[in-house]
């Protein structure tokens, strides 16, 4: 039990330290305040509001279609990384000398 609490505390402590550092950075304007004023208000309204007509009629469909970009991004990145890994492995395994021609 103590071990569980200790580990969770450690995770939260690191996350907390990161948060505190970020807070200092934000308060000192390190990240600026890019999304200020009208543009931000506009973006927020756009984000929250007005679902397109199809998703208004079929909310589940709207949600499913809306989540698609993230699924696709993850999928593309995943496949690309696996392929890059495979390629790296194959290149590393390639023999130094050319392999003898096979057969006839």
């Amino acid at each position: 039990m103590l071990k569980i609490i200790g580990r969770i505390m450690a995770i939260l402590l690191v996350a907390g330290a990161l948060t505190a550092a970020t807070n200092v950075a934000v308060n000192n304007g390190v990240f600026g305040s890019r999304l200020g004023g009208e543009r931000e208000e506009h973006e927020r309204n756009e984000r929250d509001g007005a679902p397109n007509s199809l998703s208004a009629r079929y909310p589940a469909l709207g949600v499913a279609v809306g989540l698609l970009p993230t699924v696709l991004k993850l999928g593309v990145l995943g496949v690309a990384t696996v392929q890059a890994g495979n390629l790296a492995k194959r290149l590393r395994r390639r023999p130094a000398a050319p392999t003898p021609a096979s057969g006839a």
Binding site: V14, L18, T19, L35, E40, K73, G75, V79
Partner: protein
Amino acid sequence: MVTESRKRTITTGIIDVVLLVLFIGAAEPRPTGILWHEWLGIAFGVIAVVHIYRSWDWIVATLSRVFAQQTVTTRFSLVLNILVFVSMTLAVVSGIAISREALETLGIEWLTNNAWRGLHGLSAEAAVILVGIHIAMHWKWIVNLVRRTPIAGTVEA
């Protein structure tokens, strides 16, 4: 006969699927609406702690050998996982900082600064990219898990 280690693997798999579903749900606030977005994000943060907790042995082993010889893959994974952790923490924390619904429900008021909003979008975008690579790094593990489930039809002898 299901061994202890097999049980642990399956539990890990279930937790990871939940985590992925929460993450995908949280990564697109528009279709879900902001209320769902915030709660999905908070739930994600909680389950992420469980996920890290269960990876404790790997973390300790890899960090303790950080200056020793390690494979390129392990080193890459370490750097990647640190970046995943940083981007996720920033996404959840900045999300809470700009929360409009969830925190109000809980009766908490927090600082709102526009910079947090920018940081939220930025860290979330970074997280999506890093998570894609993180999942790919464990591709073999995932394929093995799926292959060996009874549903897939190839139960181990």
